[in-house]
Symmetry: C2
Subunit: 194 residues, 2 copies
């Protein structure tokens, strides 16, 4: 197995940008959307579906799961299969090359299986609101609600599939407040630890 | 106000040692037990009492508080007074000199009042158990219970007096897993951010 950097991140914290900048600095590949494409290809599922389901769970998904019994609920089967596929793609990547993987519970999937540097990037609500408005623009939904919804879906997914708590520092080697430290400094720290 | 480094830490994570090493490297003073001595002197309370009460709350303390009404419960008055005194001593320090302050909610007390670099040091339960046994020796109480009790008392205190959540990354600029990164690397990172 190769040395892998996994980057978990809060929505709007700039974790994806920090991953790209770190990849450029270290000269290693970054898997973010590229991972989605790979998973969609291997699973035969649509990319938009994979994007939505590969790290998000809603409360109604969870209720559906608890009511579904064994294999009676088609959506659950597809989602569990996606989780299996996603785990295989990530394990396969780690075998093939040294790289950076953004999100998708890679820290958990590679636990005890690859030599991982596990990063979590976060920022204050205020910083993240400013950032999503400037990067993704305004929408009908207030940015604070967009942020909280997205964080909630990601944490439900992570907590459900990993049995750990999303954003708990103990799951990571280092947690970086990108709003305070700035992206450059985050990249420097990650590179120096690699 | 001077530039201050505050270091919150889980019991057994080596946060205090990392503070000392960083102080030596940067040539600035570290307040840990020295802070206790100062607070005891200014409050007229015994040092052992200050050590116990300056960052620990038990569940029975909390119940006592909720039953105490207004000023009818002597212990609460003394504790609240200690909190006030502690806040004043920390604010006073920040006015006088650039330094490192370990624990005692300094990150909260100095919030928006001093130029702070806010660090949290943590480690896995396993790493911390090994460490407290090797540093403090065995005792009648199992090390895991000692750790959990101490963390609980610190977090109850922090959450009660600050209205924030102890160990939540959002309260800090960076969170360091000392068990994975090692003390030297933690010191390097803190120094490079200072």
């Amino acid at each position: 197995m190769n040395r892998i950097i996994t980057i978990g991140r809060e929505f709007g914290s700039g974790g994806r940008t920090i991953a790209k900048m770190t990849g450029e600095k270290l000269g290693i590949k970054v898997y973010d959307n590229e991972l989605l494409i790979k998973i969609a290809k291997e699973s035969g599922l649509a990319q938009a579906y994979v994007a939505e389901k590969s790290e998000n769970l809603t409360l109604s998904d969870l209720i559906g799961r608890s009511l579904s019994g064994f294999g009676t609920y088609n959506q659950v089967l597809v989602e569990d299969n996606l989780w299996k596929m996603q785990s295989e793609v990530i394990l396969d990547l780690a075998k093939k090359e040294t790289c950076i993987i953004v999100g998708r519970c890679a820290d958990y999937i590679l636990k005890d299986k690859a030599d991982c540097l596990k990063i979590f990037v976060y920022a204050s609500l205020e910083e993240r609101i400013n950032r999503i408005v400037s990067v993704y623009g305004e929408s009908d939904v207030a940015p604070e609600k967009r942020l909280k919804d997205k964080d909630k879906r990601r944490s439900l997914f992570y907590n459900y599939f990993t049995d750990m708590k999303w954003g708990d520092p103990h799951n990571y080697d280092i947690c970086l407040n990108s709003g305070i430290l700035g992206f450059e400094k985050c990249v420097d720290i990650i590179s120096s630890l690699y």
